[in-house]
Structures are given as structure tokens and as C-alpha cells.
């Protein structure tokens, strides 16, 4: 007893709503996870910028000691 679904459009009867709901829940959870990870990655990027700035300052300080600390503009 095989019934192949005719078209990509879901039949919007009762059953369709529930099935759609279940798959929506799955997708939403997945996207929420991606969003949380995105926040993490943003934080890592920010910290790397800071660390890069510190490293550059350090380098300038070594190259020209006593010439006074020059604020190195971080690369945009």
C-alpha cells in the first residue's frame, strides 16, 4: 500500500500542521544553537583584536624603547 505524495506543498489539513510543527521545532532549536555559537565566535574575535593590539604595542615598545609609548592604531 504505497501512496506517494503528489507535490512539495504540504496538505494543510490537521496532520500537516503537526508534522510541520515537529520539523519547525527541530529547525528552531538548530538555529538557536547556531545563534549561541555565533555569539561565542564574536567574543573570540573581539578578544583576538585586543590581544593583537597588545602584541603590536609590545612590539613598538621594544623597537623604540624610551621614545615614549606610541599608541598603535589597531588595524581596522
Amino acid at each position: 500500500m504505497e501512496v506517494l505524495l503528489a507535490a512539495p506543498a504540504l496538505p494543510l489539513d490537521e496532520a500537516g500542521k503537526y508534522v510541520a510543527g515537529a520539523y519547525v521545532v527541530f529547525v528552531v532549536l538548530l538555529v538557536v544553537y547556531v545563534a549561541i555559537m555565533a555569539a561565542k565566535v564574536q567574543r573570540i574575535e573581539r578578544e583576538l583584536r585586543e590581544v593583537a593590539a597588545i602584541a603590536e604595542e609590545r612590539k613598538e615598545g621594544q623597537a623604540a624603547p624610551g621614545r615614549g609609548a606610541e599608541e598603535a592604531a589597531p588595524h581596522a
Binding site: M1, E2, V3, L4, L5, P8, P11, D13, E14, A15, G16, Y18, V19, G21, A22, Y23, V25, F26, L29, L30, Y33, M37, K40, V41, R43, I44, E47, L48, E50, V51, I54, A55, R58
Partner: protein, 240 residues
């Protein structure tokens, strides 16, 4: 290097998910009893199976951590359990939707598999407050591993016990009018299972890579004698 292979893995995951969804909606036959609603089965059950194996994997990683004292295994164990808990939320919600659609109630107690899963989920949900309650990092990692091992051993035992408590078995999942699952359904199920397993692996790798990157930043900061930022979690183990 945790990020290595992440790109091909995610591509494989996406492809497999696409194939699985296509099979579900264009290929798999309609169930004799439940009709269209049965399609939820292809997202609910693979999520559940993968989550359960994830929990047990967390136990295995915990054993490795206890034996080698290498902290990376604790990170693996934590992430395995963490992603499984997230999958678990999806399992319970999709299970409730399926229950509502099939039997009219958002929750039914005579579904031994769903009930067992709830109990396992409740146990693993305590993993976070448990870790949080132990301040010393070393001890936290060790005790968390003990927890993960105990809980991992618990999973199969629990399923068996709950199943025995019910005479009804998870009905109609693997049956149609002819009785027994037709080949097309089985194929679709297996592909969905593979897709979820790949998704799980990708997410675990993704999480570990992010942790590793954080760890490398900390390492850089320490090397430069720069102040360490205060943003580290109390419970999530660090990866370096």
C-alpha cells in the same frame, strides 16, 4: 586541531539532511494507521537514538578521562552530554507533538520509550547544577566524569526497566497494514538516522573547535602577560 575536517563534515551533514527530508516527504509511503502524522517519526526517533548514544559516549569519554587524567576527555564528555541534552529537548517536544497528533494528549504515560527518555533527560539535566556546585576545577572534572559513567550505565538499565513496566510496546512505529516495516520506510529511517548522527558529530566538533579557539586566545594572553578576561564559564571545561 579541532576545526580540521569540520567543513567537509558539515557539508556531508547538510547533504544527508537534504536527502533524508526528500525521502521523508517524497519517497516514504504513508503509514497505514497513522497516516501523515507518522512522518514525525523520522525526526523524533533518530534524534532520540543519537541523543542516547551521545549520553553513553559521554560516559565512555569520562572513563578515558578518569584513566588518563587528560583534561581533553573531560571536555569531550561535557560536550557530548551537552549536545545530547539539546537533542533531548527536541526529542521530548517532537514526542509530545506526535503524542498530541496521534492520541490527543500532549503526554502519554504508556509510551515506555518516551517515559524512559524523560527519566534519562531528567538525570542528565542535573549534570549542570552538579558541575556548578563543585568549585575546584580538578575535582569538578573528576566528579563530573564519575557522574557521566554512572549515568551512562544507567541508560540501558532504565530503558529495560520501564519497558518491563508496560505491557504495551511503542505501537505502530514499525508496522503498517501488512505488519512489519516496509523497505522504503526502513531506508528513509536509516538515512534520517545517519543524518542526525552526522549532525550530532558536526555540532560536537563545532563546539569543541570554538572552545579550542577560546583556549588558544587565553594561551596567547598568558604568553603576552596580558590580563585574562573574566568571561570564562564556571562549568564548561576548557580546551587548549
Amino acid at each position: 586541531m579541532y576545526g580540521k575536517g569540520l567543513k567537509p563534515l558539515s557539508i556531508a551533514t547538510v547533504s544527508m539532511l537534504a536527502v533524508s527530508l526528500s525521502l521523508v516527504f517524497f519517497y516514504a509511503p504513508l503509514d497505514a494507521d497513522q497516516g501523515f502524522v507518522q512522518k514525525i517519526f523520522y525526526v523524533h526517533v533518530p534524534l532520540a537514538v543519537v541523543a542516547l548514544f551521545g549520553f553513553m559516549a559521554g560516559g565512555v569519554f569520562a572513563i578515558l578521562h578518569l584513566r588518563s587524567n587528560d583534561r581533553k576527555w573531560d571536555a569531550y564528555s561535557y560536550v557530548a552530554i551537552h549536545i545530547s541534552v539539546i537533542f533531548g529537548v527536541a526529542v521530548l517536544i517532537t514526542g509530545a507533538i506526535w503524542a498530541k497528533a496521534s492520541w490527543g494528549h500532549w503526554w502519554v504515560w504508556d509510551e515506555p520509550t518516551l517515559v524512559s527518555f524523560l527519566i534519562v533527560f531528567l538525570l542528565y539535566a542535573t549534570y549542570y547544577p552538579f558541575r556548578y556546585a563543585i568549585e575546584d576545577r580538578d575535582r569538578q572534572a573528576r566528579y563530573a566524569s564519575v557522574f557521566a559513567v554512572t549515568a551512562g550505565a544507567f541508560v540501558p538499565l532504565n530503558f529495560m526497566a520501564v519497558r518491563m513496566a508496560e505491557s504495551l510496546v511503542h505501537p505502530r512505529t514499525f508496522a503498517t497494514a501488512e505488519g512489519g516495516m516496509p523497505g522504503e520506510m526502513m531506508l528513509t529511517f536509516l538515512v534520517s538516522l545517519a543524518a542526525m548522527a552526522l549532525l550530532y558529530t558536526t555540532l560536537v566538533k563545532f563546539e569543541l573547535t570554538a572552545k579550542s579557539a577560546s583556549g588558544q586566545v587565553k594561551r596567547l594572553r598568558r604568553a603576552l602577560d596580558a590580563p585574562v578576561s573574566g568571561g570564562s564559564s564556571r562549568i564548561a571545561p576548557e580546551v587548549s
